[in-house]
């Protein structure tokens, strides 16, 4: 029996990730296979419940010498993938810094602080400053919904709320509008206001925001700063441990 199992394992296709052999199932991406094996590849726009988006590029790995987004790249037999290298982590830090300066991310007065994946990645990648010049863009805050606040200052355009609203909630409340630096989250209502949509506070789209752009009203600071998800555990430990965060 044991021999049969070992034989079937050896027949499973596999690739190398930082020298470790990872088996994968047909159709899995590098990210899928890594998450299944409990190996952390930094990411923001990816969530295992949703179709890959491939936009934040934080999950960039080197495959046979070329940079690719691991959340969209199908795993293939014999691939040699590099993930946790100083060069890739430096590039990831630079991308995180760009995300910080492109929006208005002021952690000291953000309710998401301590539970925010952008911030947690900053900690994980040892980002000590945003490094680049801040854009300080003008972004609209929408408080029209009775139970949900939309603060575009903190939006990182990951489209997780767009995907969750369409694929899980079946509502199509959110979309991205504009181009390039003018890209912004839009709300599917003639007024453009969240209060005029059928969004419910229990929707997956409200829960899935990795930053403080979509927040439930009247739940602020229920958990004190210092006792939050990433205050004592790294995003790597959280996402490869007891849940995705």
């Amino acid at each position: 029996m044991r021999r049969i199992w070992a034989l079937s394992m050896s027949l499973k296709p596999s690739f190398s990730l930082d020298g470790q052999t990872l088996a994968f199932l047909s159709g899995q991406t590098i990210m899928d296979a890594a998450l299944a094996a409990g190996v952390y590849i930094p990411h923001l726009c990816h969530h295992p419940e949703f179709k890959p988006h491939g936009s934040c590029k934080l999950c960039t790995v080197k495959v046979n010498g070329r940079n690719v987004a691991s959340c969209t790249m199908p795993a293939a037999e014999g691939m040699v993938v590099l993930n946790d290298t100083p060069e890739l982590n430096e590039a990831r830090r630079a991308l995180t810094q760009m995300l910080f300066v492109e929006g208005n991310h002021f952690c000291p007065f953000c309710e998401k602080s301590g539970n925010c994946q952008l911030q947690a990645l900053g900690y994980f990648l040892e980002m000590l400053s945003p490094h680049y010049n801040h854009f300080y863009p003008q972004r609209e805050v929408d408080g029209s919904h009775p139970e949900v606040l939309l603060d575009r200052n903190r939006c990182i355009m990951c489209e997780l709320c767009v995907r969750a609203s369409q694929d899980v909630d079946g509502k199509n409340v959110f979309a991205l509008g504009g181009r390039g630096v003018h890209t912004h989250l839009i709300v599917n209502a003639p007024s453009g206001k969240l209060g005029d949509t059928d969004l419910a506070v229990s929707d997956r789209a409200v829960q899935v925001c990795p930053v403080g752009a979509i927040l439930k009203k009247r739940h602020g600071f229920e958990v004190p700063i210092g006792q939050r998800l990433y205050d004592h555990k790294t995003i790597k430990d959280v996402q490869t441990g007891d849940g995705h965060g």
Partner: protein, 181 residues
């Protein structure tokens, strides 16, 4: 035996709340250990008004007016190592909340429409420093050697940073000492 030359440190608060200085004082009795190795130039503790030649300059707060720039440039000119301490120096922080509001509208709100105000007047004394339309982190104005984030950085982070620097090590913060809030 001659006493070893002490490391000279200057500190100041630009557009900040002095919270980072309070956190610095939170190293408590370790201040005595620190005083064995360092001496202070310009700081709110010594009341020296201008920064002279120093080894380390610790800057709290961002840049919100012309005076901030003069002070910051004086520090940069005189300090071998310049450190941005706290969220405001590193990102603009709380004062940068006004960046989404036009400067004139800020002044109108404070001096014309504020509760209890009558016949308000926006101060324009030539001695008052010229405010900028936006608040900026200090590294957007001068070269900064190190950033120590946090609002404020915990005393443990300040202590770790200073002891690393004084020992000639590259400063490295433990995970729980690196915070942006």
């Amino acid at each position: 035996m001659a006493e070893a030359k002490k490391v000279r440190i200057a500190t100041c608060s630009l557009a900040g709340c002095f919270g980072c200085h309070m956190s610095f004082l939170d190293i408590d009795e370790k201040l005595f250990d620190l005083l064995a190795w360092v001496e202070f130039d310009r700081t709110p503790l010594t009341d020296i008004k201008h920064c002279g030649p120093c080894d380390v300059g610790l800057i709290e707060g961002g840049v919100c007016n012309a005076e901030n720039v003069h002070v910051l440039k004086e520090f940069r000119k005189n300090c071998k190592v310049l450190v941005a301490v706290g969220a405001c120096a590193v990102t603009g922080g709380i004062p940068a909340m006004r960046n989404s509001v036009e400067l004139r509208a800020c002044f109108d709100e404070v001096y014309h429409y504020g509760v209890g105000l009558k016949n308000g007047m926006i101060p324009n004394d030539p001695e008052l420093p010229l405010p900028f339309d936006k608040v900026h982190p200090i590294y957007e104005v001068v070269k900064v050697d190190y950033c120590l984030p946090g609002c404020p950085p915990p005393a443990s982070a300040i202590w770790q940073f200073l002891t690393d620097l004084l020992a000639g090590r590259e400063p490295k913060l433990a995970y729980e000492s690196l915070h942006y809030d």
